[in-house]
Symmetry: C2
Subunit: 467 residues, 2 copies
Amino acid sequence: MAGTVYPGGRKPLPADLVGALEQRFGDRFERGQAVLGQHGASESHFAPVLPDAVVFALSTDEVVALVTLCSAADVPIVPFGAGTSIEGNALAIHGGISLDMSRMDRVIAVHAEDFDCVVQPGVRREELNLHLRDQGLFFPIDPGANATIGGMASTRASGTNAVRYGTMKDAVLSLEVVTPQGKVIRTARRARKSAAGYDLTRLYVGSEGTLGIITEVTLRLHPVPDTISAAVCSFATLPGAVDTVVQAIQCAVPLARVEILDKKQMAAVNRWSKLDYPEAPTLFFEFHGSANHVAEQVETVKMLAEANGGSDFAWSNRPEERTKLWRARHEAYYAAVNMRAGAIGWATDVCVPMSRLAECIAETYTDLEASTIPSTILGHVGDGNFHVVFSIDPNAPEEMKEVEAINARLVERALAMDGTCTGEHGIGIGKQQWLVAELGDAVGQMRLIKRAFDPQNLLNPGKIFAL
Amino acid sequence: MAGTVYPGGRKPLPADLVGALEQRFGDRFERGQAVLGQHGASESHFAPVLPDAVVFALSTDEVVALVTLCSAADVPIVPFGAGTSIEGNALAIHGGISLDMSRMDRVIAVHAEDFDCVVQPGVRREELNLHLRDQGLFFPIDPGANATIGGMASTRASGTNAVRYGTMKDAVLSLEVVTPQGKVIRTARRARKSAAGYDLTRLYVGSEGTLGIITEVTLRLHPVPDTISAAVCSFATLPGAVDTVVQAIQCAVPLARVEILDKKQMAAVNRWSKLDYPEAPTLFFEFHGSANHVAEQVETVKMLAEANGGSDFAWSNRPEERTKLWRARHEAYYAAVNMRAGAIGWATDVCVPMSRLAECIAETYTDLEASTIPSTILGHVGDGNFHVVFSIDPNAPEEMKEVEAINARLVERALAMDGTCTGEHGIGIGKQQWLVAELGDAVGQMRLIKRAFDPQNLLNPGKIFAL
């Protein structure tokens, strides 16, 4: 919220640091209000927090130079990708430099035979897939937003394909990282697997820029399947939709994507994306494989859907129909927030064991229906991960308080089911109390790592936990 | 080798600790030579190193009690599972207590609908699969040896199914861990994915007991496929076999297992397991899926194999034939070592990007042919991971030196190809110089974690790196 004061405060940039940064980065050291504003905004409900300056890095050497200068001046650095994170992960809450990585956007190498590629962190996932298109390969992780690869690695992002292809923890083979001491390390070789010491790759993935600055990412790729089919199916009830997915997974159907949208979300999608789907609980599917194998998967899922009250099962191999479908799914967050003009959004992010998903959604539904604040449910149902999207009146502070209370009850419900407060958005500043509720003393081990790696608390201070 | 002196040495157990352990653990505190010998042996080429005592723990509380006592007395603890590791990972090189977890062998819960289970670390993988058999689920990670789940997590094990189902980093959802300070932490909830802070699960997986003692493991399971088919195919050349696998993966065939055995390994297998396969470079396959999908996979692979000089492609759905095939594969290490009576084994473990595998194997072959020491090649060809197994005369110290030199050249070759010195065996005491060659300054970050978590250097000291 506007006027939020973060513990620890902030101090102005020292003049000698300003001079050194001007000299080193020229016009890529920026302090104009427009640029600060872009780097201080959030796609979610957090009030803007401007950094003191923005530096656009072009190389690993420049990141090392910046770290060295800021360390000497004791000024924080907050890595920044596309600014699409939604837990305030990239807000400079203690001031300092917003380090914009978006101009480090080269695809360095594609090793088609090895199903991997090496990219700079500022490459965005859609651009990467365009780059790969001619080689019969694709990068599956799809959080909806056209985020940067570095940002996705930092928040351990996932999204619609995770049920089949995993999350960023599975997609990242190796990282180049600049440490807070200005050392450049590589966390792993390019082999598909390794047992060589502690798994630093997976430690940096999800560390939200608090342990090091990612300057290069080696990603695992997948062959583009022969046949891709999409399907849409409406259900009489939300539990009917959820049960269909649980049963499909039990039948070992290798679903590539399966997304749930409740009837209010379908209404929002229809309005926003000018579509005319039935306004009922709905599953969006995607199937990957050989033509025969896809047909077989579709047949199994269709049978299960019918047994669970599904109807209007419509599937298609046509790329333009698939594109339309997934564009609508990707715009679902904006569609939901914009049910009210000028509203601001808040997306929850719990993930529970599959066996508890229907129950968790049903109880949440009851809670939502007792509120007048518009909300929808959508989610990655194959992972047990769903989002409630609230559309909040920015001029009604009591609405923000009410959503906070609903979210608190939702997280407590998920934790009681052995779930997590965040399936894919990370902790940032929004979920710190829940991290402690979820993992207790294990958070103490995280603090030990942060203190050992970054004793000066230079990198993205105040995120994940306060020290 | 016998008489190896490890830096840092060892000191006798303090008398008051002995008294306290006798009181706390009764006859589960053992100092008899037979038990010490079992816990001081290695399945590989390392000379025995006896611990000062063995404690058999029955519960997390007992592990906490042991850690508290040993910490106060400054005596090392070395967690021990089934003793099947092969880089000396569980040898008490600085003395102290070998903490035997094998009696913590309960399957605590199976959540069939969630495709997970919770087990104590002493459960062995074969027993787990027997336990799961009636529920249509299986645990895919298969390192050959009937290792404990705790040991497999500690070394980030993988094996024959990794090409399809991943390694222990993918199989472990959550861990209960006792820290060197005696705190009990849980690294994650039971949700399928999470972005809640640093990935402690993946940090402990592969840490070889140096950061904490694993006392409970939550594992991801998979539905038993409708149809399982095995196939064997001989090739005119080793590169023909490798190319078949690379092309199958490019065609997106979801191979469940694909193992390569060279002609010498096939001769050893035939002799050891009383079989009569052609003594030629050979691939062992397994295919999982629906009946139609498996038939389709088999058809594709058969076609590729034929194009690459494969012949005698024989496949079967019969469980007893599959069992025979995979038993022979699992005995391959012993078959190779026992080509000479009384010999000791040494298995290398490099893993390289797929595009370099044929070349890496070919160059290694040339090196092996210049040696008189019997050796074979076998490996998880879909991951780029292969082992050379040497059969060494224990009375010929010059043979050990020669194998050391061949292994050094092999690791350097793999590193030059952007590969790793260890795909799945871990670092232990055998690969410490290669870890530094492979990851350079990143090893410094590992040391920071070890020092932060275990400042007393209590847990499995001297493994992965010396401090």
